[in-house]
Amino acid sequence: MDIKFTPEEERFRDEVRAWLSQNAPKTQPPEHDLKTRSEFDRAWQSTLFEAGYAGISWPKEYGGRGASLMQQLIWYEEFARAGAYEPSTLFVGLNHGGPTLIARGSEAQKAFHLPKILRGEVIWCQGFSEPGAGSDLGGLSTRAVIDGDDLVVTGQKIWTSFAQIAQFQELLVRTDPEAPKHKGITWVICPMGLPGMEIREIKTMAGGSDFCEVFYDEVRIPRANIVGALNDGWNVAMSTLSFERGTAFLSEQVRLTRLVDQLIEMARHTPLGAGTALADDEVGRRLALLRAEVEALRAMTYRSVSRTARTGVPSAEASLIRLFFSELQQRVFALAMEILGPEILAWDADGAPSRVTPEHAGAASWVSHHLTAFSSTIAAGSKDIQRNIIGDRILGLPR
């Protein structure tokens, strides 16, 4: 058991830290202006690509860094520590679509898509959830009928982040309605903007419209876009989801530690009663507990990475971390709301910081964090599903 990194790993850390301090953008694009955001992300991803930091976990043969698990951990830590902006419009391509193609795509699919994803030239979105298939994803009903060289898709997807700016979608469709529900699904690359597709934005409680619903009315997708085998889409999708629950959330976890430290600093300067919030014993203890919890989250993450480094596969224990993290994050931002008190009341749902007076801009960003965090116990497997996974797969409780 050891908490020290090797000299080689420390050199990598120094190198990454120096590069990030020189190159990470100092500004952030406006939260709710998707066009500006996607241009910003593309430019930042291109900078990362030129420097050899794009696709840190992707194999070298596909243009990635091919970094060891320890190097990935160090990269994500330094990325968060530098306060570097996460190119979130590229998340699905880099962390779902790309890795799925690497695992299951044909040579032609890989050759066409992977370089574009890695350079940030294309935005991918996810077409998994449906109005009737959320936690029960296997119950999806968007149909695809084979007609010559095409799949003809009819149905609806929902909670599709960035559908309105994406060029491609990883789409799950039902190709065999007679088969047991997990056996009749196909994973297909859907180019966005095909005839018969309609996209409607959904405004969230946090104010933005990152996500959408997508309607398909006899949309023709070439059969050549199927990834893996026809009707094997559930297995293809699971390879993506286990990835998502493995390393892709690392930087989010590291970032939370940084936010707690910022919250402590904020409490030091925020008046409460006759003193400051940090001078208040109750607030102080709650901050201390959160600080302890994010520290434990790091130890937990280190342990999970250690385990994966030995076995080579993401561990089921990732569900424990995911559940702990998502609820912890909500507690952090909820405490921020209490510390800020009346400061939180000025907040613009359209996310234009310019319309909130400068002295409230800091508080407004905490409000946005607080509201956005409501999604963290819903997306990528709700907390209830995470508890089922832990109960069924880790503890072996009866279904």
């Binding site: 030091r268 919890e293 520290e295 089922n388 069924d392 409780l397 279904r399």
Partner: protein
């Protein structure tokens, strides 16, 4: 960086568990609760013969040459089975004596299982007076006091070993946690050995006490998950095992999360203490806070999961509730640790 156990640590765990399964089944644990000190003699010698008490000591001092991380594994197993007796006090006393060197006989007796020591670390009872090689004062609520024939005393800046003597009296009282019977220890100009006058040495022992007691809590916390899961698989209501109901399943899932949080924090804190890193005290405080939260809540949930049975004396669930209370109350409670963290933030 690697926070998973080494092959050697796995082997240690297996051998400790095998010993405890044989020598300390729950029936024996219960028999020892409230039993007099001499009931422990065979158990102690058996554990000593496997090297339990010198695991973290250098070989030249009669130890196995391992470190705090291997003692963590041992304590986790002891906690898992709520092992009665002053295990931690004996391990810590051996540490302090080995560090002081040139021991005489006490260290040898501890390692041979012929001597049991209780650790007087919490300052309850007021200031101690040390004059020459004599100590006067009282330490209250000392875990395992009535079962010990030697006392490790860790004061602010002094570490003492006080052997049993007519100038040392122990007033044992019936105890909430009967696996760790407490008592007041009074020294009246009692002969002692001053092992160190170094603040760092005292701080190291205090840290070791925290992380190894956390390891005990980790073992207990993990055991409550096992107990609940085992029971939820077989207990049937409404024609189904209760573990299939989400109300129970999700409670078990939360218990598993807490156990993993506590374990991760404890491993990190133990390695930090072993390596004497700059943030070792901070990590120990973090581990204590999270282990106390995890152990207390898991022990309570375990009672709940066992329903009416869980409320009985016969069911083992309450033993963990009580051990968790004793854990939180000693060596700096979670509230004390939180306040220490807050003081750090304020001073920064």
């Amino acid at each position: 960086m690697d926070l998973m156990p080494t092959a050697e640590q796995d082997a240690i765990r297996e051998s400790v568990r095998a010993f405890l399964d044989k020598e300390l089944p729950m029936s024996r644990v219960r028999a020892l609760m409230g039993a007099p000190a001499d009931a422990y003699s065979d158990l102690w010698r058996g554990a000593a013969s496997l090297g339990f008490f010198g695991l973290g000591l250098p070989e030249r001092r009669g130890g196995a040459g391992y470190s705090l991380t291997e003692e963590m594994v041992l304590c986790e197993e002891l906690g898992r089975t709520v092992a009665p007796g002053p295990w931690l006090g004996t391990i810590l006393a051996a540490h302090a004596l080995a560090e002081a060197g040139n021991d005489g006989s006490a260290l040898g007796q501890l390692l041979a299982g012929e001597l049991r020591a209780a650790a007087c670390i919490d300052p309850w009872g007021g200031a101690l007076r040390v004059e020459g090689e004599r100590v006067t004062g009282t330490r209250n609520s000392v875990l395992g006091a009535g079962l010990a024939d030697g006392f490790l005393v860790v004061d602010d800046a002094a570490v003492l070993f006080v052997p049993a003597h007519r100038a040392v009296s122990v007033a044992a009282v019936p105890s909430l946690d009967a696996t760790n019977p407490v008592g007041s220890v009074t020294f009246r100009d009692a002969p002692c050995r001053i092992l160190s006058r170094d603040r760092d040495a005292a701080a190291r022992l205090r840290r070791a006490a925290i992380v190894l007691s956390c390891a005990d809590a980790v073992g207990g916390t993990a055991r409550t998950v096992e107990m609940s899961v085992e029971y939820a698989k077989v207990r049937q209501q409404f024609g189904k095992p209760i573990g299939s109901f989400q109300a129970v399943k999700h409670r078990c899932a939360d218990m598993a999360v807490r156990a993993e949080v506590a374990r991760s924090a404890t491993i990190y804190a133990t390695v930090s203490a072993r390596d004497a890193t700059a943030d070792a005290d901070f990590q120990a405080a973090v581990a204590k806070v999270l282990c106390a939260n995890a152990y207390l809540q898991n022990a309570a949930d375990n009672v709940q999961n066992h329903g009416g049975m869980g409320y009985t004396w016969e069911c083992d669930a309450h033993l963990y509730v009580k051990r968790a209370r004793a854990f939180d109350a000693t060596f700096g409670s979670r509230r004390t640790q939180l306040d220490a963290l807050v003081a750090q933030f304020r001073a920064a």
